[in-house]
Amino acid sequence: MEVDAIVIGAGVVGCSVARSLSRYNLNVAVLEAGSDVAEGASKANSAIVHAGFDAKPGSNKAKFNVLGNRMFEDVCRELKVPFRRNGSLVLAFGPEEEKALEDLKARAETNGVPVEIIGQDELRRREPNVSPEATAALWAPTGGICCPYELTFRSAENAAANGVAFFFDAKVTSIRPADASGAWRLECEDSRVFEAKAVVNCVGIRSDELNNQVSATKYSIQARRGEYLMLDRDEDGAFSATMFQVPSKMGKGILVSPTVDGTVIVGPTAEDIPDKDDKATTYEGLEKVKAGARRTYPNLPLGKVITEFSGLRAHETTVGDFILGEAPDAPGFFNAVGVESPGLTSAPAIGQWLAERVAAKLGASRKNPSIVSADVSWWPKTREMAPADLAELVSRDSSFGRVICRCEGVTEGEIRAAIRCRVGARTLDGIKRRTRSGMGRCQGGFCTPRVIEILGNELGLPPEAFLLSRKSAPKALRQSRASCVSCGSGVLDVLVIGAGPAGLAAACAAKEAGAKNVLVIERDDAPGGILQQCIHNGFGLHRFSEELTGPEYAQRFIDRAAELGVSVVCGTMVLSIEAGMPAHVTAMSPRGGLAVYAAKAVVLAMGCRERPRGALMTPGTRPAGVYTAGTVQRLVNMDGIMPGRRVVILGSGDIGLIMARRLTFSGAKVLACVEIMKKSSGLMRNVVQCLNDYDIPLLLSHTVTDVEGREHVTGVKVSKVGEDLKPISGTEMHFDCDTLVLSCGLIPENELTRKAGIEIDPKTRGPRIDPKTMATSVPGIFAGGNVVRVYDLVDWVSRDSEIAGRSAAEYAMGNA
């Protein structure tokens, strides 16, 4: 897969970079070695938004800490992530540490961070639980607390809503220049290959290894482990500010802090360890946490501990600072190396800064703000809702009334939403971080069996598949998430609407003509369009010199599209097209929500629809049992449902004739085919092989003049018509039937076309097109197949749509 920019690593930094990059006209992909976002340091840290008083003045840590801190209100409001400026206190125990507070205060002022020193009385007044040994404190009102994984996954959701593709279980094993073009070629462990003009290294603990593959400037990351304890919610209120101690060279020391979730976090230790994957907690470590915390909080209630965990900070040893920006000797390779504390605080600012650098490198323009989606796949958190609102929600969707996690009050509806969102959960841990299910005092004891059942149900796997690992997705799901969202990325060359014969032919032709990124959006669950229900033969005589059935003909194009690397997303409905360079196409799907795709050229291939009963103005009652021929075809051939046993067909369109034979084959009695005109509107070959072969009468110059039956059709009246097509009285005949099938013509489907301001030809009822290029009246928008005019033969649909696809590719490349 080729894209403009690849972000490696889906932690809080990577997702922030991706979100910022999604504001530019760029094709962006995120590659993550794990099965989910926030799998590294982003899931196990202190969750503090640092004020920025202790970073070394002039360092990247100081700069981005302060910038990031200022951005937090806006970012968290946009992403609907909880954030609270509860302020930070740094405690001094005795005169020597009070001197250190003065140094910190001076440093804060250099960094531009407001602070003040408060005395013991003021400290005890504000924080009654603080140790009487603490003699003074530095107060930093801009310090805050947030939820780091929520910040990460909502950043990812918003990035995906703006076209960024996420690939999980994609561990990059090698990176090297692709060729003379200056692109980077990335190979993954599972042999997936990606190419990009720019790469952003956000790999956290392994960011040194990635950098050292491409640059002569070597870095070295030391894994520094921090162990934590978490206290139950009923400890909420023990402290209102985040309680630090005077920092040492190993870090900010043991803190005690409220969290946005109402629990209390205590930790971390700081221990350099050799193994970059060792996230075990240790007896010694936890003892250190307890001892350190007791200095601040002498009455630390150990009975309230609900869990302990550890995280690894990516400490860079050669520079000791965040290393940000393009590597000097590797053009297009950007680093975010050594992002340890205050990395969470800095992430939004790092994301913005790096995205600006990448966009400048690639010469990418900013997207028009009107097409940037603000969507973050928000879902209601029932535990925070007022009872009346909750009642209303449950009455609309009962799954929000079924509590799955009792400790944290998480419902089935929330868990399903966490799976169904764009970058949805595929693991128990993924559910936990997105919903808090399993994060409470029983730590998943009650909810695990219920959560795996929902995961299995949503993702089509046995529940036990999710018990093999808490954090790795079951094998069957690896890569699958990519296929849900990947195709929505960046600026496409050609976007085709509809994956029927027209759309697939156009997409293949566009690709063959040199278009790189070609995406087909299909509203049905599978490609192939209406051919999938046309199980009769007679297709492809011209195209393939063979007589194929509909599904066989469709499969040839589906296979061809796959060979050529055309992306097809199914179950997705296009809602609008906004012409321009690039054009913007808004589409909706149950999993992806609302997404906007940018494309240099668009091909319309929505096909046509049948004229319904209303358009025919057939008199009579409105009972069940009246169908269009295409609906009956779908019911019988795809859904295995026979709509009736005694059938009259009104109209002699080809689908009606074909269905006369199909219904006969399926055991129904077709009493007559009634046609108002003097000759059949379908092909003579179909009259012969579908009606004559089975002795079904074709009543020409006749029409249905009454439909009978209250609940269901019980019969129809048929009359002869005169030259004026009006029924002649006295010619009525009656048929006892339970089904009336309408086959009275097709109309090109052009809601989208009209909405896009494309000129419609009143004769064909499709867009007015230039037959040489299949271009519509709007530059950059082309059309092919039955959306243009109703064709007799799919072979010609393919041929003309290929012209549309080629023209679209040429247009896209001419405007590259």
């Binding site: 199980i535 059935t549 066989e552 051939n637 084959f665 070959r685």
Partner: protein
Amino acid sequence: MKMICINCPKGCEMDVEKVGDDVRVTGHSCPRGEAYAKAEVTNPTRMVTGLVRVAGMRKPLPVKTRTAVPKGSIDAVLFALHQATVQLPVKIGDVIIPDAAGTGVDVVATANM
């Protein structure tokens, strides 16, 4: 006698006359038309497309006779389809019913399922 060719959408109207053992065809515009007309008076045949039940699923599998079968065997082929149940997976071209209804023609799958 008059006859309409079913080979392609053109639907040529042909005159077919049996003269002894010979069949004379006029009005056709390609050799396929002539062959069809001759077959219609001697041994008329048709492709049969249909549906076969899939074990454990409501959605049926679309199938066809690999080549045309005698018109008189259509009912017997349809009955054979009705009797059959297939197990998935199935690929296009897989034989679903060998030698359907003794016609010597196999019924094959026309979709991947």
